[in-house]
């Protein structure tokens, strides 16, 4: 099942005849919830279907709704030259846009076991991991330690610095995308450690969630991204 990320294109005109495109108006791209390439229950027992459904249909959708709203307001403010509002909207865009960016990656980072979830990376990414971290186990341990130690809400990432062609492990708070930690960082794989990602199943035992999620990590996707950046 191909991943459909549907995007709607709307043209905003300033209250004038909407069939004519005014030279000054720019079209505003809004976003909608991408489909998961697997059923909600397909990642069990690592992640419960209940969590997957809530996470996708409630949390991710809410980020998208609020992101779209903030973008519309931003669009209007830009057109009016209302700098105060432009600046005021930045945090909403960061929270909600970041939430959309991060979760879109996250769904691709996961795959049911029968579709390759958990299968270790091979080829260039596998080799890079061994070189940089010693072994896949060592990478996993490091990411789990960082993920468990993160205070509050955030993400733990395996990324690649596309300038230096080096793998990195980073954490970001709240919904900050990986790029906020370095402009050359490209996310290969992110693990959501917000409590909503695991609470119903693992309660306060985040380390158990981190231990189990590796069984459904989709290394194929991570490898594709890596190869694209480091070809």
């Amino acid at each position: 099942m191909a991943l459909r990320s549907s995007v709607t294109r709307r043209t905003l005109t300033l209250g004038l005849n909407s069939t004519r495109l005014l030279p000054l108006s720019r079209s505003l791209q809004t976003f909608s919830l991408p489909d998961l390439p697997y059923d909600y229950g397909a990642l069990e027992p690592a992640i419960s279907g209940e969590i997957m459904q809530l996470h996708h249909q409630k949390h991710h959708r809410t980020y998208i709704t609020n992101y779209n709203k903030a973008l519309e307001q931003l669009h209007e403010a830009i057109q009016k030259g209302d700098s105060s509002t432009v600046v005021k909207l930045q945090s909403a865009i960061k929270f909600n846009g970041g939430g959309h960016v991060n979760h879109s990656i996250f769904w691709k980072n996961l795959a049911p076991i029968r579709e390759g979830g958990g299968e270790p990376p091979k080829a260039s990414l596998g080799w890079a991991i061994d070189t940089h971290f010693g072994s896949l186990e060592s990478l996993i341990q490091k990411m789990n330690t960082e993920g468990a130690a993160l205070q509050g809400s955030g993400w733990v990432w395996l990324g690649v610095n596309k300038e230096l062609k080096k793998l990195v492990i980073e954490t970001t708070p709240n919904q900050d995308p990986l790029v906020t930690k370095g402009p050359h960082l490209v996310p290969l794989l992110g693990i959501d450690v917000w409590e909503h990602a695991y609470y119903l199943q693992y309660k306060n035992v985040r380390p158990d969630y981190l231990k189990n999620i590796w069984k459904v990590i989709n290394w194929k996707y991570a490898s594709e991204v890596y190869e694209k950046e480091c070809a």
Partner: protein, 308 residues
């Protein structure tokens, strides 16, 4: 390690009924090398911090907050903060300090030290359980209601603002009603037009473990908006959780008691300030020696650069 960057000497006093001890900001330090040093007399190793039970059984807040939530939230999360704090503090300069002192010291003016998260979360959760009661909700009365109406326009506006703060604290954190009675700590500044309005109620929100003690406010009420506080009962529906909290759980009696203490402390501080200002005018030496009995320090002779 110690709080070498902080030159605050902490004056604490115990408020008998709730056992709440809050540091007052004392006179700015004149001796730049003054640090936290342990008093020679206090050789006793203070008892470690304990997990206090909520003032009601774990199922008492049902159906608004389930027993299961209390079992995990208090029994696991809160307990873990306390246990980890004890482990972090033992054998360090923080040992023996009150929880509030540890919070201020480890907050370190924003450059947070390791024990802060556990200490602050331990305190925050105690404060949270006490902010609720079975059959809570309703409306406050008396001075508290008057102040709310003065500072927010109306009780309804206050509720709106508090709920908005709680709903828009992105990620993990807390929303607070607090009593703010401090002014800028500038040595020679005198408030040219002091009035009762200088002391006011404020609504603030804070991320993760931060609480208004670090801003020298007096917290009156809090709601925990970390997801673990509401996920079992409300899943993603934080606004519903917040509404239920306000309508069914808030203990206005507790908030009222805290307000009285806040006002008393503000009054005491003002008297302290007056006394100090008078003494300064009259050219007397500062009274810091007199306060020795109450001061608590942390010893770090090794770092004393004056020794070089």
């Amino acid at each position: 390690m110690a709080a070498t960057t902080s030159m605050v000497t902490s004056l604490t006093f115990t408020i008998p009924s709730l056992g709440l001890r809050l540091p007052t900001r004392s006179y700015p330090c004149l001796k730049p090398q003054r640090r936290f040093v342990r008093k020679a007399a206090s050789n006793v190793i203070t008892a470690t911090y304990e997990l206090k039970a909520p003032p009601y059984p774990l199922n008492a807040l049902e159906p608004h907050m389930s027993r299961e939530t209390l079992e995990y939230h208090w029994g696991k999360h809160h307990r873990t903060y306390v246990e980890n704090l004890n482990k972090q503090v033992v054998g360090t300069d923080l040992e023996g300090l009150s929880l509030e002192d540890i919070i201020i010291v480890t907050y370190n003016k924003g450059d947070i030290l390791p024990a802060f998260n556990n200490a602050a979360q331990a305190w925050n959760h105690d404060f949270f359980w006490e902010s609720m009661k079975p059959g809570g909700g309703g409306k406050p009365s008396g001075d508290l209601l008057d102040l709310i109406e003065r500072d927010f326009g109306s009780f309804e506006r206050f509720i709106e603002e508090f709920k908005a703060a709680a709903a828009t604290q992105f990620g993990s954190g807390w929303a607070w009603l607090a009593y703010k009675a401090n002014r800028l700590d500038v040595e020679n500044a005198v408030n040219p037009w002091p009035s009762e309005k200088d002391k006011e109620l404020v609504i603030v929100k804070s991320p993760n473990a931060v609480n208004p003690l670090v801003w020298d406010y007096f917290p009156l009420l809090t709601i925990d908006v970390w997801e673990h506080a509401y996920y079992l009962d409300f899943q993603n529906r934080r606004p519903d959780y917040i509404s239920v909290f306000m309508e069914k759980l808030v203990s206005w009696e507790t908030v009222n008691t805290r307000l009285e203490k806040a006002k008393a402390r503000a009054a005491e501080r003002e008297m302290e300030e007056e006394r100090r200002r008078k003494e300064e005018e009259e050219g007397k030496p500062t009274n810091e020696e007199e306060d020795d009995d109450l001061e608590m320090y942390v010893d770090n002779d090794n770092d004393d650069s004056e020794a070089e």
